[in-house]
Amino acid sequence: MAVMGTMVGAGLTLTYTISTDQFEAQIINYDWSGGEVESLETTHMGTTYGARTFRPGWIDFGTLTVECHFDNKAAATKSHLLTNADRQNTSGSIVVTYPDPDGAGALTPGTFTCSGFVTNAATRVPLRGTATITYTFKLTAAPTVVATA
């Protein structure tokens, strides 16, 4: 029986490469919505009365939401991925490298690779505490997942 383990977020990195630029963030929260399979109803007049029937349809690989530290002084152009014309109407490459659950640096780091584009970049600058920018990426294909080894 497979047993699910645990790990912490320290050590996770994300790079987003688009056009000639590479985005590296100071990530404080990382969320992937997960993929969702569309369910298509297949109930018809000949179906035995009682339960509707379905079949799986297209897969939507959802969104990545990444909350990062925000410093408007440091690399302002990279802070606003939505504002550069050469990045519009274009997907980039997202590579997430998962931390080694043992903290030691695995021989083969676990990765999550996919293509996507930025749909939202929201900044939050509180009176107290650090400023953040939250990027939302829409995934445009199936991600490739490599387990840590």
Binding site: F23, I27, H69, A75, I133
Partner: protein, 140 residues
Amino acid sequence: MQIDEDIIAFAVADVALRRLVSDRVSFELMGERDTLPAVTIETVTDEPARHMGGRGGLTRYEYRVRCWGRSRVEASNVRQAWIECFDEYRGQMGRSVVPSLYCENASDEPAGPDQGVAQQIPCLALTMEVWVREFAASAV
């Protein structure tokens, strides 16, 4: 820590505060025989702004500042001078870069044994929150 030294240097360089406490500003406990008025500072906590790859370049420090006087009025004058010197300060402080600083939570603080002084010495306290830039951020 560098910011500790910079806070002391900043305080004793302030004309109004220095007129009251001279150079009697320290992170040491208050002694019964110490000259009054004086200020003692205690580090309550430090919280580096971390991210998944390490430290983000800013650290939040919280200090408890105790203002001692021969009377409550004198202690109150010291606390007021401290607030006027430090509250909402932003910029270079000695070798530290301070983007944000607040003085608040002023309270009467009867000294207890943990302060190393007799109970009779009037003491007024406040909390000082100091954000310190440790290093410039890289790309966001």
